[in-house]
């Protein structure tokens, strides 16, 4: 049994696309976060490693398991979270 002072953690897969993938320097990464974290916390973790990403925070949207999701969306273990710059298909 885990001691009660150890906070449970979750693992999520983070994906980057388009120009954001080049800024982040990665297309995907599995990240461990404290249980109860939100999408915003996940992005903040990437910003702490790659400060350049902060500039893009206001001009991207996130998705959780292939659905657009607000920044305050809570994360579950196994979630697939993507950071998506403005779309330009067509």
């Amino acid at each position: 049994m885990a001691p009660s002072n150890v906070k449970a953690s979750i693992r999520v897969k983070a994906l980057f696309f388009g120009g954001l993938k080049e800024v982040a320097g990665r297309a995907e990464e599995t990240v461990e976060l404290a249980s109860g974290s939100h999408i915003e916390d996940l992005f903040a973790q990437f910003i702490s490693r790659c400060p350049e990403l902060a500039r893009y925070r206001g001009s991207l949207v996130a998705s959780r398991n292939q659905e657009f999701a607000a920044w305050n969306t809570p994360l579950d273990s196994g979630d697939e979270i993507a950071f998506l710059p403005p779309v330009s298909g067509g």
Partner: protein
């Protein structure tokens, strides 16, 4: 090639040339009086700079899901028969088709409106990106930020 059929619709992401005639034939049924198509193709310039070629990428699983949602929405909004939506990915040369939409309907007005709605919605909400290559460099094209639900704290009780 990834495929997600919704009833009699056809939703595709392809890395080879889009076969427009096959999509038109697919939506054509005996009950239709009209088929309207949209052929989005690669232009030779962007903001006055000569384009060499484009490179498209997608969040494929989500893009197919969003394209499928567009097809479903088109059916609820317009009196149409079938929809086909194909988007090409990878490197595209000038003049090539990047996206093709075909809508069949008993009467033309619905087909025109549905086709317009489908391409407008696709450009706004499907996670696909294009990089434009010029003589002197490359840039990711300006795009649109898809609408996002403001608060998803209250989870849907998905099973």
């Amino acid at each position: 090639m990834a495929t997600l059929p919704t009833s009699d619709d056809r939703i595709l992401l392809v890395y080879e040339r889009i076969d427009a005639n096959a999509l038109i034939d697919h939506v054509r049924t005996a009950g239709d009086g009209a088929i309207v198509t949209f052929d989005g193709c690669v232009r030779n310039q962007s903001h006055g700079r000569s384009t060499l070629y484009l490179d498209y990428e997608a969040y494929e699983s989500m893009a197919l899901g969003k394209m499928r949602e567009i097809a479903a929405e088109v059916h609820t909004k317009f009196q149409i028969d079938r929809v086909a939506i194909a988007h090409r990915l990878g490197r595209l040369e000038i003049g090539e088709t990047s996206v093709f939409i075909a809508v069949s309907a008993p009467h033309r007005a619905a087909a025109f409106e549905a086709c317009r709605f489908a391409i407008d919605t696709l450009k706004r909400s499907v996670p696909i990106w294009k990089k434009e290559y010029f003589e002197d460099g490359a840039v990711w094209a300006d795009g649109e930020l898809p609408p996002v639900p403001q608060d998803t704290q209250t989870r849907k009780s998905a099973s």
